[in-house]
Symmetry: C2
Subunit: 272 residues, 2 copies
């Protein structure tokens, strides 16, 4: 099965895709828009996208695309993010002057850069892509921060591992596709809704769940494009498709500007 990811082969999304879909054949896309386009044009049967990280927070662009595009969430997973300092074989740490990686990965290794003042962090388009770049260009004064799988993929050498500031660094991924199926094990629902006025309206919106003892595991706000200082809210409800949930969604429609169910899927096991 062809699964689209944003980033190069060896990216964390590649690892997540292999966990979520047995024998996944990865379609590497340069941008997130291309991932969603690949689903629309059926060049990929599914896609795996990161939606939040326990250190960096939400991936805003993916939340925006889940809202805009006609896709459905079928599964979630939580991947432990382990960052490695990767170089061309033979390069030593004292030769390294700069480190390339995705800005989010660089941000997750702040302590490394505090300890190595002579090494500068240089934003690059992709974690695995930075390994590919160093190897293909034969750079000797440059390292990359990426997954160990990226080192394998491109023939790099792991010089240091565990670079992340906090070992409790997880990224949550969604498996999405165009079908609207709900698995029989589904016990979690992701919903997005808009409110014209945050004040009392948010309290009322959350009451539709609280009054029915439906627990939320997460709430996230995003700005509404073209409507400055208006927000939409992404909530994850720990309940599948049952009568209480359906009534809650009907009730929510009375309060919210719009309501979209992004998916009903089995929740991931809690990882420590």
């Amino acid at each position: 099965m062809k699964v689209a990811i944003q980033g190069e082969r060896g990216a964390f999304s590649h690892q997540a895709a292999l966990h979520l879909v047995r024998g996944a054949e990865v379609l590497a896309c340069a941008t997130s828009i291309q991932v969603f386009d690949a689903l629309e044009s059926r060049r990929a049967a599914a896609a795996v996208i990161p939606v939040e990280n326990t250190l960096a927070g939400p991936v805003g662009e993916h939340l925006d695309l889940l809202l805009e595009r006609d896709v459905f969430i079928h599964a979630e997973m939580r991947l432990r993010i382990a960052h490695n300092l990767i170089v061309a074989p033979g390069t030593k740490l004292k030769e390294v002057r700069q480190v390339l990686s995705h800005p989010v990965a660089l941000d997750q290794c702040r302590n490394f850069f505090r300890r190595h003042r002579g090494i500068s962090a240089v934003p690059f388009y992709d974690t695995a892509g930075s390994v590919k770049h160093i190897l293909s260009q034969g750079l000797r004064d440059t390292a990359a921060i990426a997954s160990s799988q990226a080192a394998k993929e491109y023939g790099g050498k792991v010089l240091m591992s565990g670079l992340e500031d906090d070992k409790r660094n997880f990224t949550r991924f969604f498996l999405i596709d165009k079908k609207k199926g709900i698995s029989s094990k589904a016990d979690k629902t992701s919903v997005v809704f808009s409110l014209k006025n945050v004040s009392g309206a948010l309290f009322k919106a959350l009451s539709v769940f609280a009054l029915r003892d439906l627990d939320l595991s997460k709430i996230e706000s995003r700005p509404v494009r073209g409507k400055p200082w208006e927000y939409c809210f992404y909530v994850d409800v720990l309940r599948g498709d049952d009568p209480a949930m359906r009534l809650a969604l009907k009730h929510l429609e009375e309060i919210a500007g719009f309501v979209k169910v992004l998916g009903v899927y089995p929740r991931a096991k809690v990882s420590k």
Copy 2:
């Protein structure tokens, strides 16, 4: 008065600082941590930091630092973000192969890159810094996306203006310093609190404001570092320091793990 900003001279924070503090003398800092360190060491009397953008969403690192550091918000402002394509004098559009800018600015000009497929977006550490780089290196195939003020500051030429996807593109800035003063015109309060369990707890936390008719203009969640899948919540309440607000904060302390008032300040006028 010395005002620290993150980024080079000519950054949008520089513009905001000039609006917020008459005759501000800007101290340009490479990182956000250095901005907060400059306040702590008294090298700057104040700092101006972006906290949210109406297209890109919140600036997570600044929300985290407001929580961690001993600072207080004294004012807010909303700056209209206008992006320009800036080159070295003499460079023509057809010569441009790549465009440098901060990733957030690149993301706000997605349509420009869709229309110019031969031009690639290259993440750079700073909007104004990308102009400085192109001019100092005399690059001819490279442009920058930044404010018109950055063009003035470094002698660049504005080749195109209005590059932003959406004209309704505003960034909200805070003026912060170490003093805990509250101006007599203050009618807005920013508070952050943590919840052990998002489900019913968030509904209860918001009830402390709803029950007293205290309106929220904004709620934002952030992951708690070191506690995967736990969140803290940043709320802006449209009320200054009065008896109802004090009672609401006392009530909130009964429900939340911790409560921190980030500032009490006059609200910015609504900009269109």
